[in-house]
Subunit: 261 residues, 2 copies
């Protein structure tokens, strides 16, 4: 597991602010999450640029290229170079051809584009697994411990993957999507497998559910809500979709049978 | 002012869910926000497609095209046709030429793309105004009343514009960006002016601040936090940036002098 993001330097800045209230004006220190542009290149061709929290950039680049449909499965990526001037160069055994019709999504994240083809396509079978409610509780508890930048800056989303009885990876980002992309990137880089549960602090709109299902994750959970189309995609893929996840409560919108007592 | 979104049909669906807790399983009804794809065309050329909450679509299309750099100011749009099959056709006195290098942003919204040119460009002077703290309090209070889908679905963001002592427009959307785009669209369609304060429930990342400043709004406020780059852009544009906005408290990160006692 990487260090919790608050223990890593360079991810937030401190700023003096003026607090206005009926009692008058006062000064207060606030922490702001760093948001910085990174360009992603695949086989030396620029694919796009995204605003990110500069941590987990290898995973981000891999997940970004998966979200956009360039990378399809683990094993395709040969090398990733993170350049300090804001560029991540990915080398992979794939053809660089852009998806046809793209839809800009409601995603609070870097990869706010999906192809209509992906949206309407059929799903491969998910990586099956069942997880107990007690394990889910542990997952949520640990995920909250691993996301200190969230409460400090109120400007990042967190996303983690639980498998084989433990929290396998956890990432934060200024984008709801980017945080998920980092987790998916860890799968694509062989650091985890899809056979488990993913938890995000962000809303489960269509694009979020779609990429989790496309990579084969069977249990998709959020601290907050799904949209109508997020639920429709979970049903179509047969994924378990759960929302309002807390250590002592989970609200399951689809396929509750994967969470056992 | 339009009707609060909860009084409009077709914006949410009800779904039975399974609630898991240490006490066992129970059923509960939940409301989900409708998320649906719309394609935006400008002068009969398809510009993009976005996932939206299907309300305020004229404003959304106008704001979307502004966010992407196609529409630059009020008065350019001649006609907007909202087609039931998921397409909004905009006709405007502009050349359809795509921005050069685009950056996919951290935006939880449809228009998650900005051009590097916009990001690094100079700002026109903002439309100056000053607003009292008492008015800001009224604004936040009224904005919360006008966003019923938020607490019902936990899956939408709200955005409103306050000017001349009253709430001028308010919109909700599944995307943080889309909600802002609808407000900017109302300005582009001559239904409001930039001379006032904008409030969003979403985070103020770079792209959010950038488009509000580009259209000339001097006071930009959020229920939650800005990012580092959101603050940098507000400084560069000279905009007032306020966060954690509540009826009785406002945390000003830049240019507090526009909010008077």
């Amino acid at each position: 597991m990487p260090l919790p993001t608050s223990l890593q330097p360079g991810l937030s800045i401190t700023q003096t602010t003026t607090v206005l209230s009926p009692g008058g004006r006062s000064e207060q220190l606030e922490q702001l999450a760093i948001e910085t542009p990174y360009t992603i290149a695949l086989n030396d061709e620029t694919i796009g640029a995204s605003m990110v929290l500069p941590v987990g950039l290898e995973e981000f680049a891999a997940g970004f290229l998966f979200g956009q449909g360039y990378i399809k499965k683990p094993g395709e990526i040969r090398e990733i170079l993170v350049c300090p001037e804001g560029r991540v160069a990915v080398y992979a055994d794939v053809e660089v051809s852009a998806p046809k019709e793209v839809i800009i999504t409601s995603g609070c994240g870097g990869t706010g584009k999906i192809s209509r083809e992906m949206l309407e396509g059929a799903f491969e079978p998910l990586q099956e697994c069942r997880i107990s409610f007690a394990e889910i509780s542990d997952f949520i508890r640990q995920a909250l411990q691993y996301s200190p930048l969230g409460p400090q800056t109120h400007c990042v989303h967190g996303c983690g993957l639980w498998q084989d009885g433990g929290l396998k990876v956890f990432f934060e980002d200024v984008g709801r999507h980017n945080a998920v992309d980092k987790v998916l990137g860890a799968i694509l880089l062989g650091r985890a497998t899809p056979r488990g549960a993913i938890y995000t602090t962000g809303r489960l709109t269509s694009d979020m559910v779609l990429k989790c299902a496309r990579i084969g994750i069977p249990i998709i959970m959020s601290r907050t809500a799904p949209s109508s189309l997020g639920l429709a995609i979970a049903r179509s893929a047969g994924a378990t979709l759960a929302a309002y996840a807390r250590p002592d409560r989970l609200n399951v919108f689809n396929a509750p049978e994967r969470i056992i007592d």
